[in-house]
């Protein structure tokens, strides 16, 4: 009897030891955590982009790390960050300590990314943000480099540059309007949702437009989930503004575009409208969102460089819809992490950080170079400008998303004209032209 027990326990111990070794045997993979609001478009973009990158790399046999090839294993984590910050931090904690990921890409809602960033930094894991634009995230890198150096911005460029790009686009459209409508000065109505991220843009807009030679007709701040903006639209109509500068990230973007289109308000919309970046926008506005222009990263037919089309076309073919900027997980894995790992020959985070922050490399929306701020500190934030990342201006033209900016754009005095491949001219809505014919 005692003998049987002893044999049994020895057998069990050996078995357990072997099982643990199995764990170790699986260690020839690089685990990358993809964290995002998986039930929503943004999270799906995170996952799809990562999937494309992982399949591409694994198809070639994996990443060369030193003298062996390692494949990529993706770990999906639903942060549920739209609804619950606690869930997001729990998810981040889980993939680091339970799933033992080596790198993390993703994130979207700034409040959640701030919390998730802290956890990733606790464990010294490289975290590439592919969705939150808050400058605060990269300010932390500058102010506490040793702790936050593992954090990099993957997409989009920060909200300061988002604003700058919008103003340039607005100025371009303003010039087109001035000529086409024959008016001495363009009047702009500033309509931005009441949200933290829109505060700096709203403030800046009120200062920038006068400098651009345009008059500010008024500032309106609807709630993010407003379902009726006819009151604001009436006021805009009475103010005789020809341009509406928008900053919307939530459902109000759809409501506004639809109602403005239905009421045929004689003003064009330009600015930020995240909902308008999605393919579903046309149906959501019942087709009334025609001629809405917004800042975007990708558009079918527009190419920044030779990496753009393979990505965009491949994404559309595989997933049936165009990618939004959260699909930058593709670039994060394929162009940021993989070559850095191959160059370093190791997965050691400190070494990778010191190599990555100095690299200047091509990605599908342009070129990545990390900003060193005025005090000489690394911020791991993305450089903006022609030759680096600029984003594009996209306009809805009869049911299709068409790139309309940069179109013969001169960034600075004496600089060369920039027009990306596939950009077409901007179209003014016919009812606006009608209203100003008299």
């Amino acid at each position: 009897m005692k003998m049987k027990n002893m044999v049994r326990s020895i057998f069990l111990t050996v078995f357990l030891a072997l099982a643990m070794c199995f764990q170790a045997w699986g260690a020839d993979v690089i685990k990358i955590g993809v964290i995002g609001p998986m039930k929503f478009m943004q999270g799906k973009g995170h996952w799809n982009g990562a999937l494309m990158a992982a399949d591409q790399i694994n198809g070639k046999g994996g990443i060369q790390v030193g003298n062996k090839k390692m494949k990529i294993e993706l770990v999906k984590a639903d942060s549920n960050e739209f609804l619950n910050i606690t869930d997001a931090t729990n998810a981040m904690q889980r993939i680091i300590t339970r799933d033992k990921v080596d790198f993390i890409v993703g994130g979207f809602r700034s409040e959640a990314v701030l919390a998730m960033q802290d956890i990733a930094m606790d464990y010294k894991k490289i975290f590439i943000d592919c969705g939150a634009a808050d400058p605060e995230l990269c300010k932390k890198v500058a102010e506490d480099y040793d702790r936050y150096k593992y954090f990099f911005r993957g997409s989009p460029f920060n909200s300061h540059y988002l604003g700058k790009t919008c103003f340039i686009q607005a100025a371009t459209v303003g010039a087109i309007l001035k000529k086409a409508l024959g008016i001495p000065k363009v009047k702009v109505a500033i309509v931005t949702e009441k949200a933290m991220w829109a505060e700096p843009i709203t403030k800046a807009a009120q200062g920038v437009f006068p400098k651009l030679g345009m008059e500010v007709a008024g500032v309106w701040r609807p709630s993010q989930t407003a379902t009726d903006v006819t009151a604001i639209l009436s006021a805009i109509q009475s103010s005789h503004a020809q341009m509406i500068f928008t900053a919307f990230s939530a459902s109000v973007g759809i409501t506004f575009a639809r109602q403005a289109g239905e009421l045929k308000i004689p003003a064009v919309q330009v600015g930020i409208n995240v909902e308008a970046q999605k393919d579903g926008f046309w149906q959501a506005t019942q087709g009334k969102g025609n001629y809405v222009m917004q800042l975007d990263t990708y558009c079918q037919g527009v190419e920044y460089n030779d990496l753009t089309a393979p990505f965009v076309d491949g994404y559309v073919k595989r997933f049936g819809e165009k990618p939004t900027y959260t699909a930058a997980t593709y670039d994060a894995i394929l162009y940021s992490l993989a070559p850095t790992i191959e160059q370093a020959g190791t997965l050691d985070a400190d070494k990778l950080v010191s190599i990555l922050e100095k690299r200047v490399y091509k990605v599908s929306p342009g070129t990545d170079k990390y900003i060193v701020d005025a005090k000489g500190r690394q911020t791991h934030d993305l450089t903006w400008g022609p030759g680096y990342q600029t984003g594009i201006g996209v306009q809805w033209q009869d049911g299709k998303n068409m790139g309309v900016w940069p179109y013969h754009w001169v960034a600075a005095k004496g600089a060369p004209e920039v027009t990306y491949k596939g950009i077409v001219p901007y179209k003014i809505p016919p009812w606006v032209l009608e209203a100003y014919k008299k």
Binding site: M38, K39, D78, N80, L83, N84, I85, T86, T89, N90, A91, Q93, R94, T97, R98, S110, E111, L114, A115, D118, D134, E136, K140, K194, A195, M196, E199
Partner: protein, 346 residues
């Protein structure tokens, strides 16, 4: 040496006489042991994180039960206290450099003050009117938070302040000991004269008034006490997550607290605590089914309500204990006769 043995034996006889007789008391002791010894079982930071949050939310749920279960003033805006506690602790820590062991109690005091502010309008309201009014308050505060983004950080909240402590285990013990201590304190309050008056206010406020008791004072006291404990839990949450944002004031947070309280059984304190310990890890455990997670959560609640409308813990308690028909003492269900008056229990 002899006296040590004496005390040990006394302890043992008390243990056998008071605790082992009732399954519910055994459960409480086991629960205490579980909370105190959990890190011995596992030091996985992920599990510790879940347990820390469970501890924090247990304090919150218990504070809700103290107010709504006992005095019958259904508070549908409990997130208000939670949020005020969190934001106050965050602001005090960030701008005035007060360390966590100071900012959290001060945050709780802020929540007490808030309790007074909302308690006063609610004095004349009853039932559903009270519930819906309390629902309004966190929403109004949310509007104020968004209107003053420089002070409150708008929808990003406040971040970058001190953490609770530097190790997961220390975090766990701080929240665990606080949870056990505060919940015991709350339970003691309900077991005292004040608690009896709270019960009475819920049952028949008019009768209590005719007995000469100033119900206004007691109702306000309930709001303040509840606010204090909820504020502590808010402050703990802020320092643990290192972010105090508008998510602490959301309607869903208020609803979740109500669900915990009612699910566990109103007017019990331990019911609310048990509900959190069951539901919160369950919700997290269901992560692997992330699409169906919330649906399953709602389904579980509905099913439990169908079969145990009084709440889970009272139902369980009724199954494992019986009340003696003669002396009204509670006995273990397996007994045939009462342990005090030997009457038949069937």
């Amino acid at each position: 040496m002899g006296s040590l043995g004496f005390y040990l034996r006394k302890l043992y006889s008390i243990f056998r006489g008071e605790i082992l007789v009732l399954p519910s008391r055994v459960a409480v002791v086991l629960f205490f042991l579980f909370v105190l010894l959990f890190p011995v079982i596992s030091t996985d930071p992920y599990l510790l994180r879940i347990m820390v949050l469970t501890n924090i939310f247990a304090i919150l749920a218990a504070s809700w039960d103290l107010l709504s279960g006992f005095t019958g003033q259904l508070n549908f805006g409990h997130a208000l206290f939670f949020g005020v506690g969190a934001y106050t602790a965050a602001i005090l820590n960030l701008h005035f450099q007060i360390p966590p062991w100071g900012s959290i109690p001060l945050g709780a005091l802020g929540a007490v003050f808030t309790g007074l502010i909302i308690g006063i309008p609610c004095l004349r309201l009853r039932g559903v009117y009270l519930a819906l009014t309390t629902l309004a308050f966190p929403i109004i505060l949310l509007g104020i938070v968004y209107a003053l983004p420089d002070l409150t950080g708008g929808e990003l909240g406040i971040s970058g302040f001190a953490r609770l402590s530097h190790s997961h285990i220390a975090n766990y013990y701080i929240t665990g000991l606080l949870m056990l201590g505060l919940c015991t304190l709350m339970w003691k309050i309900t077991d005292s004269n004040t608690g009896i008056i709270f019960h009475a206010i819920r049952e028949d406020e008019l009768a209590v008034r005719t007995a000469g008791i100033n119900t206004t004072r007691y109702k306000l006291l309930a709001f303040c006490l509840s606010g204090f404990f909820a504020g502590i839990s808010g402050g703990l949450y802020a320092h643990f997550m290192r972010i105090a944002g508008p998510s602490t004031l959301e309607v869903s947070m208020s609803f979740t607290v109500v669900i915990w309280g009612v699910f566990g059984g109103l007017a019990t304190i331990y019911g609310a605590v048990a509900a959190v310990f069951i539901l919160f890890p369950l919700l997290e455990f269901l992560q692997f089914w992330s699409e169906y997670r919330t649906l399953m959560f709602a389904a579980i609640i509905l099913l439990i309500l169908l079969y145990m409308p009084e709440g889970l813990i009272p139902w369980v308690r009724d199954k494992i204990e019986k009340e003696c028909p003669r002396c009204k003492l509670r006995n273990a269900a397996i007994r045939k006769t009462c342990r005090a008056c030997t009457a038949s229990l069937d």
